[in-house]
């Protein structure tokens, strides 16, 4: 609570923060520049700048990596992967929002035996390595014989498991300082439980829900290790496509795909983060 926030920090801390931030940002700059190269290889520094590989990624120029599955014509493997990842992330986010919000409401508002255990259990995907979750699901799907193995539903379930804890955390943060008398006031004024939730609770926990969607979307969109185990033959996600491509090719199309992924994330952050919603994730945001 110093009146000049951030100025009271020791110089060492500020230096450390700058170094840490650089480590986060520099790789992104390198990817963007590598994707804008005029040369034919994925390397840094770029050999001159051009939009050649960006256009190739979009299927609009020479060097397009035409989908091997044929019928799609000029649509590249990357565009399809990008679209598929987008769809997967959107569906995972929607499902995680519904499940995570309900779980957060129950966990913050009700006291029941085993609550602490269930809370840690729901948040455990945040702590477990993705490889463990992926392998566990892979074996489970095979053993259960429900047709989830190598299916879109199976993959979606995997992503929902990874994404839901983020929603639970952000929405719980909004609910911890939620004033219950607001809901009681609404009820006493004649609002049904559903009207109360839609008109009072939901708007007030929206910062948590928005922050949860952002994290959920980003996590699903960039997910690799769980996806490796659950991927379906006909459809590949963007991270898997990039990985495959890098194994057999040396052109900079993956870097161009990276540019689009980064732009997507930055746009979604700009659209939603202005209201300070991200603070809710850290748990110090006000509702």
């Amino acid at each position: 609570m110093s009146e000049e926030r951030g100025l009271g920090m020791p110089v060492v801390f500020r230096f450390g923060a700058i170094v840490a931030l650089s480590f986060l940002i520099v790789p992104m700059l390198i990817i963007v520049l590598a994707g804008l190269t005029a040369g034919g290889y994925l390397k840094f520094p770029p050999e001159g700048l051009s939009l050649r590989w960006v256009l190739a990624f979009l299927g609009l120029g020479p060097g397009s990596y035409v989908a091997s599955t044929g019928a799609a014509g000029a649509t590249t493997v990357f565009i399809r992967a990008f679209g598929f990842s987008f769809l997967l992330a959107a569906l995972s986010t929607l499902a995680s929002l519904a499940l995570g919000t309900m779980a957060a409401l129950t966990l913050t508002r009700h006291d029941f035996p085993g609550r602490a255990f269930i809370q840690s259990f729901f948040l455990s995907p945040l702590m477990l390595p993705g490889i463990v979750i992926g392998l566990a699901l892979f074996i489970f799907y095979r053993a259960a014989g429900l047709g989830l193995s190598r299916s879109f539903t199976g993959l979606l379930i995997g992503h929902i498991i990874i994404c839901t804890p983020f929603v639970i955390r952000t929405v719980s943060a909004s609910l911890y300082n939620f004033d219950l008398s607001l809901e009681e006031a609404a009820r006493s004024l004649g609002a049904s439980p559903l009207q109360t939730f839609r008109q009072i609770t939901l708007p007030l926990i929206m910062p948590g829900i928005t922050a949860g969607s952002i994290f959920s979307f980003i996590v699903s969109f960039g997910q690799f290790d769980v996806t490796v185990f659950l991927a379906i033959p006909e459809q590949q996600t963007l991270p898997l496509t990039i990985f495959d491509h890098l194994r057999f090719h040396s052109d900079p199309i993956p870097a161009a795909a990276g540019i689009f992924a980064i732009v997507l994330v930055i746009v979604s952050l700009l659209v939603t983060a202005r209201s300070g919603d991200l603070k809710a994730f850290a748990g110090f945001g006000k509702t």
């Binding site: 009681e184 609404a186 009820r187 006493s188 004024l189 004649g190 049904s192 439980p193």
Partner: protein, 359 residues
Amino acid sequence: MSHAGLELADVHKRYHAVQAVRGVSLTVGQGEFFSLLGPSGCGKTTTLRMIAGFAQPSSGRIVLDGQDITALPPEKRNLGMVFQNYAIFPHMRVFDNIAFGLQVRKGESASTAQKVKASLEQVGLAGYEDRYPRQLSGGEQQRVALARALVVEPKLLLLDEPLSALDKRLREEMKYWIKDLQSRLGITTVYVTHDQSEAMTLSDRIAVMNKGRVEQLGPPREIYEQPATRFVSGFIGESNMLEGRVTALEGQQAVVALGDTQVRARVLRPVQVGQSVTVMVRPENVVLGAAAGTLAWPAPIGQIIGEIYQGAIIRYEIQLPGNVKLIAESHNTSEREVFPVRANVPAGWSADSGVVLIE
């Protein structure tokens, strides 16, 4: 009070092992201003929450306007409530806050705007429609909360310590304002507070609660002048509590021995000679000196052992024979008798203003 507005019949509330409310029965008349008064944890808030429908009684019935509402959810009870922290919806303008009750009941209609306007005028906030709650002062939020509760024309108004979040000066002002508004509208009101002066000023009748029970129920004057129990006399105002034993009964009076000192007090409940009792006397009823000499019974002689000057009031500490301490307050008028510290003076009270308490 032609017919009952609200009736509670033997209402209990148990939370796991805790008995929060133990058999509360009371009737609030049409248009009456009724207070539930007591210390924290006495069950007054739980009782209010059961009336509002936020808590279910473990047993007992709640009847509003002849209709049993015990099992009804809050939204079906048609009552208005003002919360301790006002609970103004922070994401809505003042207009939408007040219109909320109208809108969820019947949907937005042509009369909504008119009603909101009229209700804002009623609470003295005309023109505040477009403000957001964070732009309002505590007193203004309080008025918005009242307007929001009243605009739906509820059968019953519930107020949960509505003044406790305001500063002292505003609290005094709002106290008279609420009283005035309530009597103008003639709405049946249940008011919960731990502040005895609020309850005394506002209420037609008060229920003093302690440990989940109603200890005494009556008009402020009765509660103050004829407390039923030690708890009530201790909680409401200041009092001398003198432990003694009944030595004689004379009509409505008892002679009580406080060690070597004999005093008299009024008997409100049956007592026996020889019974241990407490004599309760308000400090303002203790008279000293010549005034004590004119009492109908021989006042004991005590020694003044302390004097506190409080401006309008002088407070004396007196020691009666047998190590009995007594507090007396006299108004600091120009013709008052002056008593120096360590003086021996007669100290007593009119037998009717002392009350014998047995529990």
